[in-house]
């Protein structure tokens, strides 16, 4: 890492020296308009050199290719020093410096990409760039001193020496394992096609072209303005000083600004800063009416940001790519695209010069337009950039739900075909989809000939509709069906459609269920059905439960408020057979007297789901009653536990608010967890949005817990030797709690970002797969933009790649605490409020036989004796 910094510093420092001499000599010997010609030549030569470099890399390996290039750079630069530099020499020197500079930079970054994992890259690229900028400062200062004391030409041997020293550093650097093989030879056409077919890469390519084009025009404008405004004799010293100052500013930006900006704004926003500065420079120039100011500001922005923030954020764009994609795309971008753009812009400048149009205003407008485009393209990368990370995790943004009400012709064909399937589940599924799409009229009545009783029962529920009669004779036939459920469904269908006259109750006098269903329709017109004789038969203490069940089923499907007394009466019977249907009947009749009964039912699995639905159907009074039950400390804990999910069924804004409130209330952990799950349901199924200010502290709290447990596990795990049984249980418990804290934190984040699939991020954070963790880290980086720095640093620590486990110090720093020792950690855990943690910590501590822990063990065991000691007293 340090070696890499030195190498990049050497390369950049040498280049700054060479560049200063080059620019001064060129502008002294030639007119600025000649720059367009040199740009074209540089583009062509750069392209050829890049291809040659690929070949050399394949044959000798990356490291040797870099050494060779540095040696060639040193020798060539020295040859220029020993030659007399006229117009042709200045032209050639410009070409030489440009080509060598690009070649060495590309070689360095490709070598770095091969040696560091993407996870390391995110942290290291910023530091590497700092090394580069430091080299630039050193180069700039040496250049300024030499130009002042000796001559501009004396910068050339200094650059050659720096290249040579860098080559020595690379040569004697310890060999490192290359993570990826050298690139295979590929045809340019194939590479371009590969990039064009990849939407993300194509946009990155356009961004690089736009930035290259804009900065080239800025460079041209700067040099032409300098050449016209300054006397040739001062040019060298002025440029050397200017570059030295700019590089110093770049170093400050790199050290103090780049990582902060990247962390606070994210990669994509960081990419827009340089073009934004260029735009603002132009605006400042216009405002003050001076081209010089605009040019100095623009070039200053270029100098301060290009090799720091812009370089790092552009490199980060390559992180989500596979190694193969990166190896193909990068040389292509750095050679063909960069050089092609350079040539194109050079031709444009040449043409403008030819027609005397290359004025400051025209070039300024061109810079402004390109900067604007640059910003737009950078912003357009936001979605595909995240999508690349999402696809690494195997996911995508959450899909929009489709609307079954709008079945199109193709969909109807699929469903009609499904109706003739021999698979009863498929037929039922198709009927349900028609029903949900309010297209039950498309279900043919012939389905009532289906052999499956389940299909028949469902068909009798969904087919009857006002004005439709084709099903009636078939339903009458089903009154004689062997299956009880089909007969009941037939009675309900006929009764609810006004065909009770087709039913002869005496035909099933010995079948209580059928009689009860018939009684429902007979008493249906009565103001008080409970008083009807036909119904009263089923309310008696000794009534047949099958009849009661059938009556309740009919009420649950077709009943009205008038049936509430009957439901209440049946509820008092307390028969278990009725548990599932009672809540449905209560929901249908919508009587507020049922609210407390339904809340009590939440404690029992049987009928719980139906009770939730019933409460939701009863609306605001039921919601208020649930809130009171939750606040009441005397409420049965088994009921309290299920209140959050019952609240979530309301799906309303008030329900969402109640659940948000619960997250920070003093409630049992299990209740709060259920509130969180319920809130997730409300957010995903309604337009309720959670107030970030209320959720963020809870997220932070969970991340702190995660980091604390992770730290404890790592500290306790350092002990050598086999883990005793109590340790296995204790560590298992801590691992459970760590996972839960992380799950809660990601679920909470999900509430704030309902369109993002953070569940996959959670799974990625649990896995050891490096690329998944890097992708998760990047998604978290983007989704947490604008949140507090403590929270973001905790998220970063949680997403640290496993192979580069963050040192304990980084956890401690994120938590703002010193790194504790094993004894302190155990003491703290023995004092934990959770009795299980405390007891298991004490059990484990006993095994360690450490006298320092004695008092803590005694305290923990006295608090949790029931957990640690034999529970014999109550046995037998």
């Amino acid at each position: 890492m340090a070696g890499a910094c030195v190498v990049l510093g050497g390369i950049v420092g040498a280049h700054v020296l060479l560049e200063t001499a080059r620019d001064a000599l060129f502008l002294t010997k030639l007119k600025p308009s000649a720059l367009s010609l040199v740009y074209i030549a540089m583009a062509v030569l750069g392209f050829v050199t890049a291809r040659a470099d690929q070949m050399v890399s394949r044959v000798f390996g990356r490291k040797n290719a870099l050494v060779l290039a540095l040696m060639v750079a040193s020798t060539g630069t020295l040859l220029f020093y020993t030659s007399t530099i006229g117009k042709a020499g200045a032209f050639a020197l410009y070409l030489w410096a440009g080509v060598i500079g690009t070649l060495l930079t590309v070689q360095f970054w490709l070598t770095a990409a091969q040696r560091f994992t993407p996870g390391q890259g995110r942290r290291i690229y910023g530091l590497l760039s700092a090394g580069g900028v430091l080299g630039a400062v050193i180069g700039g200062v040496i250049g300024a001193l030499l130009a002042q004391g000796l001559s501009v030409k004396s910068l050339l041997p200094a650059s050659a020496a720096m290249h040579l020293l860098t080559a020595l550093v690379v040569t004697f650097a310890p060999p490192a394992t290359e993570l990826a093989p050298a690139p295979e030879k590929a045809k340019v056409g194939a590479e371009i096609r590969a990039v064009r077919s990849n939407a993300y890469l194509a946009r990155v390519g356009i961004l690089i072209q736009l930035s290259g084009a804009t900065l080239l025009i800025v460079d041209y404008l700067f040099k032409s303005v300098m050449a016209t405004r300054l006397p040739p004799s001062d040019l060298g010293i002025y440029l050397a000083r200017y570059y030295a100052i700019m590089n110093a500013v770049a170093l400050i930006v790199q050290v103090f600004v780049t990582m902060q900006v990247l962390q606070r704004m994210g990669t994509i926003l960081a990419l827009t800063l340089l073009p934004l500065c260029l735009l603002l420079s132009g605006a400042a120039g216009l405002f003050f009416g001076t081209a010089m100011l605009a040019v100095l500001l623009a070039k200053g922005s270029d100098g301060a940001l290009r090799f720091s923030l812009h370089r790092v954020s552009t490199e980060l764009l390559f992180l989500p790519l596979s190694n193969e994609e990166r190896t193909k795309a990068k040389p292509l971008f750095d050679s063909v695209l960069a050089r092609g753009t350079q040539a194109l812009i050079a031709v444009v400048i040449l043409v403008l010069n030819q027609f005397h149009l290359a004025s400051n205003n025209v070039l300024g407008t061109l810079i402004a337009s390109l900067s604007l485009l640059w910003i737009l393209v950078a912003w357009s990368l936001r979605a595909p950039y995240l999508e690349r990370f999402r696809s690494t995790l195997g996911g995508q943004a959450r899909a929009r739900s489709f609307e079954l009400l709008q079945l199109n012709l193709d969909s109807v064909v699929v469903l009609v075909e499904a109706l003739s399937s021999p698979d009863e589940n498929r037929v039922i599924g198709a009927m349900s989809l028609f029903h949900e799409g309010r297209r039950s009229n498309l279900i043919p009545a012939l389905v009532l000939y289906h052999p499956s009783p389940r299909v028949l029962a469902r068909a009798l529920e969904v087919i009857p509709a006002p004005g439709r009669k084709d099903w009636v004779p078939l339903a009458e036939r089903l009154l004689q069906h062997d299956d009880r459920e089909v007969r009941l469904a037939a009675i309900r269908a006929l009764g609810s459609s006004g065909y009770m006259d087709r039913i002869d109750p005496s035909a099933f006098s010995d079948m209580a269920g059928l009689r009860a269903t018939a009684a429902f329709f007979v008493a249906g017109q009565s103001a008080v059905p409970r008083n009807e004789t036909s119904v009263a038969e089923f309310l008696a203490e000794d009534a047949d439960p099958q009849g009661q069940l059938a009556l309740l089923e009919a009420i649950s499907k077709l009943g009205t408020a008038r049936w509430a007394d009957v439901v209440l009466e049946l509820q008092k019977r307390g028969r278990r057979e009725l548990d599932r249907v009672l809540p449905l009947a209560m929901a249908r009749t919508r009587d507020l007297r049922f609210v407390p009964l339904l809340i009590q039912r939440l404690a029992h699995r049987e009928g719980r789901n139906e009770a939730r639905e019933a409460l939701a159907a009863l609306g605001a009074p039921a919601l208020e009653a649930l809130r009171s039950a939750l606040d009441d400390r005397t409420t049965d804990p088994a009921v309290r536990l299920h209140i959050p999910r019952a609240i979530s069924r309301f799906g309303s804004h008030s329900a969402g608010e109640m659940l948000v409130h619960m997250l920070s209330q003093d409630l049992p952990g299990a209740v709060r967890y259920k509130a969180l799950r319920g809130l997730g349901r409300v957010v995903s199924t309604s337009d309720f949005s959670v107030d970030a200010a209320r959720i963020l502290p809870v997220i932070e709290q969970n991340l702190v817990e995660y980091a604390r447990i992770e730290m404890s596990l790592r500290i306790l795990g350092e002990r050598a030797g086999p883990t005793p049984l109590s340790g296995v249980l204790f560590f298992g418990l801590l691992a459970d709690k760590r996972r839960q804290a992380l799950e809660r934190a990601t679920r909470l984040l999900q509430l704030l970002h309902p369109r993002e699939d953070l569940r996959r991020v959670y799974y990625a954070l649990l896995s050891d797969e490096g690329s998944n963790r890097v992708a998760a880290a990047e998604i978290l980086e983007v989704t947490s933009l604008g949140y507090g720095e403590t929270l973001r640093s905790l998220l970063r620590v949680a997403a640290e790649p496993r192979q580069d486990l963050a040192p304990l110090e980084s956890y401690a720093s994120a938590l703002s605490i010193p790194v504790p020792h094993e004894v302190d950690t155990l003491r703290e855990l023995m004092a934990n409020a959770d009795p299980l943690v405390s007891a298991l910590a004490a059990s484990y501590a006993m095994e360690l036989e450490n006298s320092e822990l004695a008092s803590a063990i005694e305290a923990a065991t006295s608090c949790n004796a029931w957990l640690i000691e034999h529970s014999n007293a109550s046995m037998r």
């Binding site: 079954l404 589940n425 039922i428 569940r759 005694e858 957990l867 529970s871």
Partner: protein, 346 residues
């Protein structure tokens, strides 16, 4: 332009396309009526449809098992070292056993007839199960009913529990008190030891410690004297706490299973977690104690601690696989014996 505006519109609803509806329909029909349709539709949106030509592999032995495959059309054979072990057709599910046991694929899945397969990420499936707990409960009960009333023995606990017991007899050096003395006469295990015993029970092995601690609190103790008999009462999960117990299980077809269990063993396997499957009688071979965990309590804990459900799935799939391999071995043996003696097969 319409497409562009739709793509930037973000939220909202839209018409389903035919293939999406087909997947929804397929998923609803596969999962039956035991769950709310909305859950099946959400799952259907996460499914990817793929076509595999004859001769292609769905997966190979050793591949990561991170997704499950639903066969819509065609035939897929499961091969072990090139030998077919089982064939799968429409509505069959592949890859689930490996995934639930958290291991790489143990077989090659080779397409025998051009196949249309729906692929679902395992994580999506698990999330769905966690969100639709009643469905999960129904699946566990249904799968458990297909298993014999036996169980792999619990992990060997003799060494660690012996360690724990020995430690009790030693004075607690730093406190000066005898830890043993604070415990009173030995009758049963401490809570911590209960956790260890439950963790050794095969269906509970993959569960988290918090879930085990809740089960340990719900567990009632049943004591058996030597040679004492008792019928196990469903719906409960019985785990041997201490001692050694023999169980004899019978079904209504006259089949009998006999086995002997030590601490951590699940008596009657999962055959008594629901009523009406088996009659299981246990006999203590030495003074023994059993944990009895009511099934509904078990599911209550499972609903709050989903890894417990995963642990059950892993156990059930492991048992089902072992059972299938047994059957395969038996059918191979009978096939080879009928080949060697053609008269007997007739």
């Amino acid at each position: 332009m319409k497409g562009f505006f739709e793509s930037v519109a973000g939220e909202g609803t839209r018409e389903p396309d035919a293939s999406e509806l087909e997947r929804t329909l397929w998923m609803r029909s596969l999962l039956g009526g035991e769950m709310p349709p909305g859950s099946a539709d959400t799952l259907a949106q996460r499914i990817r449809e793929n076509f595999f030509a004859k001769g292609q592999h769905l997966y190979r032995q050793g591949d990561a098992s991170d997704r499950i495959f639903f066969v819509v059309r065609g035939t897929v054979a499961l091969l072990h070292r090139g030998i077919k072990t089982r064939e799968f057709g429409p509505r069959d599910v592949l890859g689930l056993i490996d995934a639930l046991q958290n291991r790489p694929h143990a077989f090659d899945a080779l397409v025998r007839e051009d196949a249309v397969v729906l692929e679902l990420e395992l994580d999506d499936w698990l999330e769905f199960l966690e969100d639709s707990f009643e469905f999960t409960r129904a699946i566990i009960l249904r799968l458990a009913s297909g298993l014999p009333p036996t169980s792999a023995p619990g992990r060997d606990l003799s060494r660690p529990t012996a360690q724990l017991r020995a430690r009790r007899d030693e004075p607690l050096q730093h406190s000066g008190d005898s830890y043993r003395a604070s415990l009173g006469p030995r009758l049963s295990l401490s809570f911590v030891e209960r956790l260890a015993i439950l963790r050794a029970c095969p269906p509970l092995t993959g569960s988290g410690i918090q879930a085990l601690s809740r089960l340990a609190r719900f567990a009632e103790l049943v004591f058996l004297e030597q040679e004492e008999h008792q019928m196990l009462v469903p719906p409960n999960l019985y785990v041997v706490e201490s001692g050694c117990v023999r169980s004899v299980a019978n079904d209504d077809k006259g089949n009998t299973w006999t086995e002997q269990m030590g601490p951590g063993g699940a008596l009657g396997g999962l055959g008594v977690i629901q009523p009406g499957l088996y009659d299981v009688e246990v006999t203590a071979l030495e003074p023994s104690s059993l944990f009895r965990i009511p099934t509904e309590r078990l599911f209550d804990v499972m609903e709050d601690h989903f890894p417990l459900a995963l642990s059950f799935f892993a156990h059930i799939s492991g048992e089902a696989e072992a059972q299938a391999l047994e059957r395969k071995k038996a059918s191979d043996a009978s096939a080879s014996s009928s080949l060697s003696n053609p008269a007997s097969s007739e």
